[in-house]
Symmetry: C2
Subunit: 425 residues, 2 copies
């Protein structure tokens, strides 16, 4: 029986036309992150499973990891996220590194989920993290990086919104304002996080089970749609002040599409204060795009002095969907500049001319199949090459070569230098 | 107990200084491959285990794969090599693709081995493959790409040699000249492949056990050090002719360090004809660097019409060792152009100036910790930043900013446009 040609379920093959799109996304990610002074790092796709037991969400670790035992008996997993890894690396050189430390990476991440729109088992995710910035200026910078990427992709400001909240604030509200105990608080946070994914009556019922007679107080708080709606006793909370300052900084930068959302939780257990999430506002792709937040406790788990940290992760699948939805993916053609067709038995003699074109910076694909010329032309067209250069005995003797533009059929007989000029112009 | 900060055994963390070196290698790989008309593809790091059962070496599949069962009961593995994957992808679109088809990729590959110099459990490998080129011109092009990469890295021609052989030729020699049966032939090929790794007497003994009374004939053949040493009846063999033509093409391109080596086998079972391997000639790193060859049978395993194919794989670990050994790794510093130090409470007001610098193309890292200036300067120096720009109330009022070069201590007070000029000059 023949082997299957399909990729592993929920993962993608990238044919060159697909890889060009992904590379476009990666290029924008890199350029923007680097313009803010971030430097690239990387790490192995395999990590010890225990790295995720402490602070990644329980659902991911227990149900969604690609965990296995290696040939040496180690419990390992393909990384489901990058945050524990980058925290491990910073902890490993805690004293040697200079802060504020700005790092980014584009790892592939794996989660065993039912593949669906916007969610695959393997995706690539830009991770941008700022270590050693305890003030809200750090949160602001991270959101500014995320927003600048959206802007660089050409997104209209009304095509997405940036929701803001503070895990510390909601935690204190639940504990101190509503009077929940620790277990109830954790359960309520998980429930609010899933609110959008369940019917209203089911949400209400689940909430009543958790908070019982305190339901009405909680519902009142959840109705706040701006910072000024918060009860007076919360106005002096440090996180409220930080959110005010953050909103002001964002507005001053022209980031007018940010808004407070007290129901925004973000799934991970490691967030300690401000969190944010970008949502697509279009009806056909109305979903979370990506997000991040502050996690001041992770580096300290490795037995070193903690480092205040804020960061975000942005996946290539959701971003690709966003670009498609909003018609922002540019038309990307083959990077090959030129196909060379050899006429007659001058393959050997043609090598110097071909080398000269490459040294001039052109990307040159040579057809050395010896097929008929019209077959070679057809293949060059099928491959998407824009130009074909013919090299035969006469061309080599006269140093004048026929260049054909495939789209127009236009031909000109010119020198190799002119060929380079025509193509790079 | 604190979590470990070490990466998975035999795999590497890439701190920014490490990642810069790897990115340099990747950049050279991409530029050269693309100059020959190759286009990038990619695929998931997980593949079904059965993909490797047919033609990857038995040792790799049985002892070195990172194989496991996924949560859906599928037998999968982290890819130990890329060739079966790229063959699968070409087979999947056999009719839609245009030939000659030129593809490259830089996948990470996993093998469970004892980590040692030049061999780790995870490495990245440039894979360059040419599909649909049956003539020796295809083999020539692939070796030319490999050699051009070495040249682009700045390698002296006498720092490496390119060994050439033909699996078809050695196979026919063993079968027809020596008179071995199929099992003996396969065993002899495996033995010759390992010859350099075992003492001479152990090699002789193992060979006697396989080929018995035919040992002397085999030894005579293995003594051939050039194509002209081959017995007259092998001079007309198609692979001998191809090797002659290949040698001539290489010599004409200035690739003078290629030589026939009848003992060169390459480990994989899928090679069908010409194979090649680059060896470092330096005494302190005298080892195989990388290689490749022709494998005309793999695409056909997927139930489609076969495609003649030639390619090679080049790993980042061995190449990195080569560059280090020969002092070819360039000094690579942080890409960050500039650190900004804010003087006084003008963080908000400084944002426009910072934005202007970024829009001019500079990579700007802002220190918003509010620490003392000398502490901020010390950190900028520790981070390896070359310039620091001070932004305070006076600077914003006069639009004249103090730029300090950290290495020299030199300071100048200039406009933001001048800052950009000084740094990009």
């Amino acid at each position: 029986m023949a082997l299957s040609t399909s990729p592993y379920k929920g993962a993608r093959d990238f044919y060159p036309s697909d890889k060009r799109k992904q590379n476009y996304i990666f290029k924008v990610w890199r350029e923007v992150a680097e313009s803010f002074g971030y430097e690239e790092y990387d790490a192995p796709v395999i990590e010890p499973l225990e790295l995720y037991l402490a602070k990644t969400s329980e659902e991911i670790v227990k149900e969604q990891t690609y965990a296995f035992e290696d040939r040496g008996g180690r419990q390992v997993t393909l990384r489901p996220e990058m945050t524990p890894t980058v925290s491990r690396m910073v902890a490993g050189k805690r004293q040697e590194l200079a802060y504020p430390l700005r790092w980014y990476s584009i790892p592939n991440l794996w989660r065993y989920e039912r593949p669906q729109k916007g969610r695959l088992r393997e995706h690539w995710q830009l991770n941008v993290d700022l270590f050693g910035a305890s003030g809200v200026e750090g949160d602001y910078e991270i959101i500014e990086v995320a927003d600048s990427i959206m802007q660089r992709f050409g997104a209209n400001r009304d095509s997405y919104i940036i929701r803001l909240n503070s895990r510390k604030l909601i935690n204190d509200v639940l504990r101190e304002q509503i009077g929940l105990d620790e277990t109830q608080t954790a359960a309520a946070i998980r429930l609010i996080d899933r609110q959008q994914k369940m019917p209203a009556d089911q949400f209400m019922q689940a909430m009543n089970e958790i908070v019982q007679e305190k339901s009405q107080s909680l519902l009142d708080i959840l109705k706040c749609v701006s910072l000024s709606d918060l009860p007076p006793e919360l106005q002096d909370h440090q996180s409220t002040k930080d959110l005010h300052k953050l909103s002001m900084l964002l507005a001053r930068s022209g980031i007018t599409n940010a808004q407070f959302d007290i129901t925004l939780m973000r799934g991970f257990d490691y967030y300690t204060d401000i969190v944010f999430e970008l949502f697509d506002t279009s009806p056909e792709n109305n979903r979370s795009l990506f997000g991040g937040g502050r996690y001041d406790g992770l580096v300290g788990l490795f037995g070193v002095e903690p480092v205040p940290t804020v960061g975000f992760g942005m996946g290539d699948v959701t971003v690709g969907d966003f670009l498609d939805t909003h018609n922002l993916m540019p038309g990307l053609t083959t990077p090959v500049d030129l196909a060379v067709i050899i006429i007659g038995a001058v393959y050997l003699e043609a090598q110097d001319a071909i080398k000269q074109l490459r040294e001039a910076g052109l990307k040159v694909a040579v057809d050395h199949t010896g097929r008929k010329i019209d077959k070679q032309l057809k293949m060059a067209d099928k491959a998407g090459y824009k130009f074909v250069l013919f090299i035969g005995e006469q061309e080599l003797r006269t140093s004048q070569f026929k260049l054909k533009e495939l789209a127009t059929g236009q031909e000109q007989t010119i020198s190799l230098n002119q060929v380079t000029d025509v193509i790079t112009k």
